[in-house]
Assembly symmetry: C2
Homo-oligomer: 384 residues x 2
């Protein structure tokens, strides 16, 4: 009963956000298993140089990017993301975009009955209920890619969902032990130095504020249908245990490994198979080490409570949360506002919002648009 | 998808070794779920007082003990263990005996197609291949009860057995940090003070020598059909992670919880269901704590290598190992030999043994008898 192998068909995939951190690592997996995948489509943003290289290497039939250089894609179809994900010859879509732009292609892929590997948290944060509704209406499925929800997914494998608690681990980010009084003065450079994970800028700042952890709580609430009060965050600075599930009998299962996103990406791409991949680092059991656990300090991470409160209110509040965070984090990166202003701005935008029911895509997009504009006003050139 | 409950039939069980540590805790679980179990038979050794109480409380139809007081069991059938486990109205047998005496009833239960919850390690250590053969010939099944094999069993649940390594955790026992030069002078009193687990005397000494951990390696080798070189022991003094499995893709799953045997006992009794039980302590996530991991120091634990070498030689060597250990540990508890003599005596008895193929019960029993006698001679009144 040892490691098996041999996937019997080629998986035809679309990668949205192929030049970002998760997109590039997704293509690393494709590169490691050339016989297992056909890349049907690639979509990216502004990193045209890398995108052209990827198109050359993987020869997708369909491409999409912002401001395509004229003549660059001869012999390749330029296809909108929403259409690319729904093509008949697509088996799985990796949504590794940044922000609310991931919502429409996610919903369209589900509507076409596709398997969606969702790395991009914002769609499920802003419209988790709608995504689950599409999943059950149209037969598509959402698979987690992020390491914490993937850990929970792996721990639940083969279990009868007798869940007592989900225990999501948080590294605590770069300011876990910084005196709270010094948080005002935090610079983007310092906030971008995550202790354990190498990620994109937006998600790295979200990790420093713990907004990212709140997003994971929201994501797991929707993905695994677990009530809010059964999801707990535990600070675990080593990022070795990626998350845990406590079952009805008190037994706890944890999923562990060195912090490397290629493992959860590969798990989502090959599920339910586990294939050996030499590029994925292994847990070192030959050296002494310690794993530590601490309760969360709410005062250090005001974004966390703000986010969970918005998520629990429901309606279009989560969409406003997600959009306000996106703009506020960019404003912090652009040195328009301070680190502690991120929470204050988001809180203010949420307090000004009149929620809509949040039952349609249009309502979420309208809330996203309003919050984007309002947060931009509040952060434009002055501190709140 | 929350905690379910409601088992639909009464499980009819036999508990062998009901007055020992695991037997008593098994009856704790029966007591906690009175509607789920019928106790068909109980068997015990010399603790007659407690046994009489248990017989009164659980009203088994069949009993077995050493030196039964005359007239004590009126209205109850006195039945040999080998027969009790094979009765038509028995669904599951808990084998929680000490030493080689567990082999015959384990094999008989399997021959009758029963589910055997095996807490008693010696039968599978001495005759693992034969037990697996009986399992496949007669359709019975062996379920682990010990916390480490149970952890591995739980981690493998729902997985396709793409196993890279089993990582069995060891507390390291009470002498993990004792200078090796002082190990000669260790007293039974000190060796009986296990840092994390409350267990019977024999297994507590086996934990101090790490013989118990070698037995678990042997047990998991047989239970999960994993080659010797894929089973590794990691020293983890907190006994919170009960064991781990590393899968082909590098993902590691761990099963955790406070050290309490009632959880793995209950898991074996109710598998695949997980039922809430207030008596089982829960992992405390509200306080800071650390889990540490260290490589094994072979020089500190000579029994470990001796045991694995015997197990890998096969034949009747493992039966000799188990019997020699049983006698040597008792000799240490009786202050006939010193702590470090345990390994020396076992090594010597193994070196004197002429192995038989180990294909029949009789061969194992003969090897067990020879090793018991020879170890008694060597430990009788003088240090080796």
């Amino acid at each position: 009963m040892l490691a098996g192998n041999g996937v019997s068909f080629v998986k035809r995939i679309v990668v949205l956000g192929s030049t970002g951190s998760i997109g590039r690592q997704t293509l690393d997996i494709v590169r490691a298993f050339p016989d297992e995948f056909e890349v049907v489509g690639l979509a990216a943003g502004n990193n045209i140089e890398l995108f052209l290289e990827q198109v050359k290497e993987f020869s997708p039939k369909h491409v999409c990017c912002i401001n395509p250089p004229s003549g660059a894609f001869s012999g390749v179809e330029y296809t909108k993301m929403e259409d690319m994900v729904a093509l008949d010859n697509v088996d799985q879509v990796m949504v590794a975009l940044m922000g609310s732009v991931g919502l429409a292609p996610t919903l369209n892929a589900l509507k076409a009955g596709k398997s969606v590997a969702l790395s991009n948290k914002e769609p499920i944060v802003m419209a988790g209920g709608l995504i689950k509704e599409y999943e059950s209406l149209y037969g598509g499925e959402v698979l987690p890619v992020d390491s914490e929800p993937s850990a929970i997914w792996q721990c639940l494998r083969g279990e009868d969902n007798e869940i007592l608690r989900l225990l999501i681990t948080a590294s605590g980010g770069p300011f876990r032990t910084t005196p709270i009084s010094e948080m005002d003065a935090v610079t983007p450079e310092r906030a971008l130095q995550h202790p354990t994970w190498k990620m994109g800028k937006k998600i790295t700042i979200d990790s420093a504020t713990l907004m990212n952890k709140a997003f994971e709580v929201i994501e797991t609430h929707w993905l695994f249908s677990v009530p809010w009060d059964r999801i707990e965050v535990v600070v675990h600075p080593q990022s070795t245990i990626h998350s845990m599930v406590e079952f009805a009998d008190g037994s706890v299962k944890a999923q562990m490994g060195p912090p490397d996103m290629r493992l959860p990406i590969q798990y989502a791409l090959f599920y339910p198979k586990r294939l050996p991949n030499a590029m994925i680092p292994r847990l070192d059991t030959k050296k002494s080490h310690a794993l530590t656990f601490d309760p969360l300090e709410p005062a250090r991470y005001p974004c966390f409570d703000i986010a969970l409160s918005a998520a629990q209110k429901g309606g279009t509040y989560p969409a406003v949360l997600s959009a306000a965070d996106e703009v506020a984090v960019q404003a912090f990166l652009d040195s328009k506002i301070g680190f502690t202003d991120i929470a204050k701005v988001i809180d203010r935008v949420l307090s000004e919002h009149d929620s809509m029911p949040g039952a349609t895509v249009d309502e979420f997009i309208e809330a996203d648009r309003w919050a984007t504009g309002r947060t931009a006003e509040l952060t434009n050139g002055h501190r709140t």
